[in-house]
Structure formats: C-alpha cells, structure tokens
Symmetry: C2
Subunit: 337 residues, 2 copies
DNA sequence: CTGTTAGCGCATTCAA
DNA sequence: TTGAATGCGCTAACAG
C-alpha cells in the first residue's frame, strides 16, 4: 500500500478539517458548494485516492463481492464471471474471485480467503461441497449458489440460488431427437459436478416417458476437453444413434475422437452437447446443444446479492430458461424431418 | 460486513489480551505453545475470521493483487487469469479482477476501482492506454503489463512487463508455411489491440526476408468469433494460398465462413491461427497455430509483482518462448513435405 | 512470555 | 455550515 495522500493531507491543503473533506468528497449537501469545489480540486491536485480498507473498517462494508468458480479457463464459467463482474461494477462493487479447480480442499481454502476479505456477499458455482458447509464458512454474509443441485434444502433466508433449467433443456433436446428418428440413446458424463447427474436423469426420465427404456451410460475420464478419447471406442461398440454429452467441450472432444475412429458425425452417429459455448457454432459439424444464459446468471447472482445486502433477506431462487439450439451434429441422414 | 467476532471476543473467552490472541493466531514463537493451542481452539469455537480491512489498515498492505483483462470470456485471457489466481493464492494473496471490454473509459474506471481497493500490485493485459497513463492511475503500487507492445518506454523500476515472443512465433509459422510451398500470403487482423500490429509486422518482415514482397491485408470487423464472415468473401476473391489470422478465434470463425462459401480448408486454402486455445486441437480441420504460454504468463506476472513488492524494485521484462503447432489447417494438398 | 498503549485512514456522532 | 472527538479491528512498539 505504501504511503499515500490521505484525507488529512487534503484537509491541510485546503485549510479545513478532515471531516469536512470526507463529507465534501462524497457530495454531502451540508457542505457549501464553494468549499466542495475547492476541496475537490485540491484532492485531484494531490492525486488523492480514498483508502477502502479504512472506509470498510468503519462502514462495515467492503463494497466487494466474491466469486468462486471451478475453472476460469472454462468458457461457461468465464461467461458467468463476465456477467458477474459487469453487473457488480455497474453498482460500484469490486469482485474478488477464486477458483476451486473442483478440489474440495482448494475450495475450502478459497472460501476462507474470500471470507477474510470480508466480501459483502458471494456467489459460488456448482460446488462439490454441501450448501450448509459453504454457508458455515462464509457466514454471515449472503451467499448465492450458481447452478447448484439442491439449492433449497436448509435455506434460511441467506442462501440464494440461481440456475438454468437444465431439466427442461434436456427434455427439449430429447424430444427433438426422438422426433427426428433417434431411438438408441447414450449419455456421457464428465467430471463429478452436480449438474452431471441432473442432466442424465432428466434425459432418462424424458426417454422413459416416451417409452424408451434404455439409456446407455458412459463416463469420460478427466477434464472436459481431452478425455473423450478414452470412451470413444467403447461408445462406438455400443452403436447408439445419438450420444448426449454432459457439455459442449465433451461433445466437441468426442466428435474429434470419433473422427479418429473414422466414424462420421452425424451421418453415422449424432452427438449433442450442452451449454452452447461460443465455439459450438463454428465446429464441424456445428453442434446441436442447449444454450445456457451464463452471463445472465452471473448478472442475476449479483442482483440477488445486492438485494439481500440491502433488505437483509435473500430473494427466492431463480431458474432461468434455456434454449434448444439445433445444428448439424444431430442431423442424421434419413432422420431429417 | 455485519457484526462478527473480533480479536477481543476471542481474548475475553480465553482470558488473555487482544495482542496475545493476535500473536498466537499468527504463530508468533513468543507465545507459549500451550496458550497458542488454547487460543486457537477458542477462535475456532467462536468461528473467528480475521478482518482483513483492519489488518490492511495497519499493515499498509492488502495482500491483494489486481488483474485487469479485456474479456473474461476469451480463452486466452481466461488462462492468464487462471495462472494469475493460482500463483497468487499459493502466496496467500487474493485477486480482484476487472474487465475493460477493450473500452478505454471502462478501463480507466476499472483501474480506479482497483486503485481504491489498494491492491498491493496489479497486472494489466494489453491495454489500449499508454503505459504512462496506467502508471499514473495506480501509482505508486507496482504494475506489470501483460502482452504489451512497448513495455519499456518510461519504465522507472515500477513498470514490469511479461509477454510472449509473438515475433519469433510468427516467424516460425511463416517459415513453416514457406517450406510447405505457400507463396501468396494474407493476414487478417482482429480488433484494435496492440499485439495485432505486432503480429502483422512480424509476418511481413519475415516474408520480406524470404523475398515475398506482398502480404494481402484484411480487417475483420468486431469481436473475435463472429466477424470473420464479413471478410471471407473478399479474402476468397484475393485467392491467397494461406491466411494468417490474428488469433485462433478469428481463424476458426474464418474456416467456418469459408465452408459456407464452399471453400475447403486446407485443400483450397490454408488458414492459421495464433494462441493455441484449447479448441484449436479439436476443430476440423485441426488448427495450425502458435502456442502461447498463457497460464505461465499469469503466473510470472504474480511472481514479478511479489518480487517488486518485497524488494521495492521491479524485475526486468520477460519474454516467454512460444511454440509452433503444425496441424491440419496448413496441410495443403501437394504442399506436404 | 504476556499486557498496555498507540495509531492505521476514515465516517460519524455531537457541539459550536 | 463546519470542527473536535470517537471508534471500526487489528498490529507493533514498549514495558513489565
């Protein structure tokens, strides 16, 4: 932090008291406009920058929001972060962020770091921890869960939740696939985040409704991009009509892996993703997927947090609509409408 | 921030003074192990969380680093952020980040926000502003520029710089393309970031060295992903052997746009990118590009900042090596080695 | 080994 | 309309 000009410096330069400077700088109407002006000029002259640490101490508010996401590198998380930061900065809030790398220990540490930074509120993306633990770690500042599976259990007015309607999205996707003639379905899940199970179950129940009993299930080894290669061979052997992938990264990876095995998507096998990351529109084949309002989720998280900070009570959970995006990767020959 | 347990609460609960608690909690060897233990237990019992605002005030250090990037949504920026956050958290630093969205006004505002948060140091990615302005805004905390064009001018020991060796990367790329028979080169630049010009000039001078005088030049309208469509037609008319794109996003977008125009990459035209974003390995054709050590850049930025914070003097600029990654998109028929 | 004292920079009572 | 005190929670001398 080093030494800097303080209120007192400005006060001395203007010949008034520190209190007056403090008020003037925040436009307190108690101070005459003429002196306000004078003080403002002096402050600018001296390059005065208020010290937020000091201000936070007395105000008991840091005007800072925390954001904990699994992985900055992931397009979806990045979009959430973008929306979060944007909305926060509109309201004059800073955001401190931290990544959990889907490691519970890391996550706990990050949570503690954010807590000690005394963020006024924080958002946590699809954590591996149970909500209660999160709350305990950060209490008593408001928390909103992003894309959490069971947002509601144990909510006592401080725990908010914002999520996309994965279930509806998966249902729409399956409906579309059934309508275009697909019958033999497979699902590939990625790493062990909560939304994984949710999406699979949504697909399974939608299929059951339509009288399709079977949903072949696979699990891709590690992180999104690469591990599709390991399962590709097994999937090919099972010969599904279509492979529902947990997310776009996995789907795109799988399509590449299938190409290595000389399986042409979608002619021989359809593949679908989830999220609609920017690249999904430029891949070849272009990816059929479900668009998630990631940025909007980030923005809403901030709004919920701010509402909670003001009113002292957390708004009800929100579930945002998703949208089916049909592109080439599900256009099987002879299956076209 | 609301009311929380403080040092004094812990002190009362343990029957010692606040100072003792403060020391014990930070493992000061002056305090007997037995009392340390007792105090630790009490603190845990009461869910005590140190208030960093207060600590910052007296320590004159926030143990917080700032990161300003153009766009969280971009894969490369995301990787830089990932490396930055990781390294920072290793050293017990928090990171507050802000996005400029390549808007100078936004950038200035973000800078001011970071400054008022009293970050101990900050990294700024490829800014549209001149380094001097940045320094002025954040003075006197150390700043390192990431991927800046002219890092050195006006460096007075506080302004650090970390960049990838774009010039060498572009040279290697052009060399490879020349060796595989390409002769007619085009370059497509993206939005107006500084590295844009740098890459173009590197390509041009490398070509000149090889006796190729001409470098057709195009500019894609807006943000990376989409605007390739506008220039694609013009590019096709110019019939280059290969199109060097400013970055991977642009390249991938261009390949898609060319497909819409029934131009097959790489059979009829090669396309190359820059950055090696994760998806470049999964596109079709897989993208020839230059890998940038983005995460490492983020990590190094932190190390430079910390070094500067400790020693009071900024380490010399660093230029990290890049790596040519040859994949399918530059493998023209009849041009293979 | 531990307690006392004195600020860090700011916002806010209460007086004037 | 302004100034003088007070304290936010913590650390760092300086005593004991």
């Amino acid at each position: 932090m080093t030494r800097r000009v303080t209120l007192v410096d400005v006060a001395r330069a203007t010949g008034v008291s520190a209190a007056t400077v403090s008020r003037a700088l925040r436009g307190d109407p108690q101070i005459s406009l003429r002196t306000q002006e004078r003080i403002r000029e002096a402050a600018a002259e001296l390059d005065y920058v208020p010290n937020n640490a000091a201000r936070s101490l007395v105000l008991r508010s840091t005007r800072t929001l925390g954001l904990l996401i699994p992985d900055t590198t992931d397009p979806v998380h990045g979009q959430v972060a973008a929306g979060f930061e944007r909305e926060a900065s509109v309201h004059g809030y800073s955001v401190v962020f931290s990544s959990s790398w889907t490691d519970p220990a890391q996550e706990r540490a990050s949570l503690a770091l954010l807590a000690s930074q005394r963020v006024d509120g924080m958002a946590v993306w699809g954590s591996l921890e149970r909500p209660r633990d999160i709350l305990a770690a950060v209490r008593p500042s408001p928390v909103v869960l992003i894309a959490a599976e069971n947002p509601l259990e144990g909510t006592e007015g401080t725990l908010g939740s914002i999520a996309a309607d994965d279930r509806a999205g998966m249902a729409a996707l399956v409906r579309h696939l059934l309508a275009s003639g697909h019958r033999r379905f497979a699902y590939v899940s990625g790493p062990g985040v909560t939304s994984n199970r949710l999406r699979r179950e949504a697909a399974a129940s939608m299929l059951a409704e339509a009288g399709v009993r079977r949903l072949l299930s696979f699990t891709a080894g590690g992180a999104g991009w690469l591990r599709a290669r390991d399962v590709a061979a097994r999937i090919v052997r099972a010969r599904p009509d279509v492979v529902l992938c947990y997310d776009d990264k996995l789907a795109l990876g799988l399509i590449d892996a299938l190409r290595r095995l000389d399986v042409v998507v979608p002619d021989e096998m359809s593949v679908t993703g989830f999220d609609d990351i920017p690249f999904a529109a430029f891949s070849r084949p272009r990816l059929t997927t479900v668009a998630q309002p990631a940025e909007e989720m980030g923005r809403r998280a901030v709004r919920m947090l701010l509402a909670s900070i003001q009113d002292g009570t957390m708004p009800p959970p929100e579930v945002l609509p998703v949208q089916l995006v049909v592109r080439e990767s599900s256009m099987r020959r002879g299956h076209l409408p």
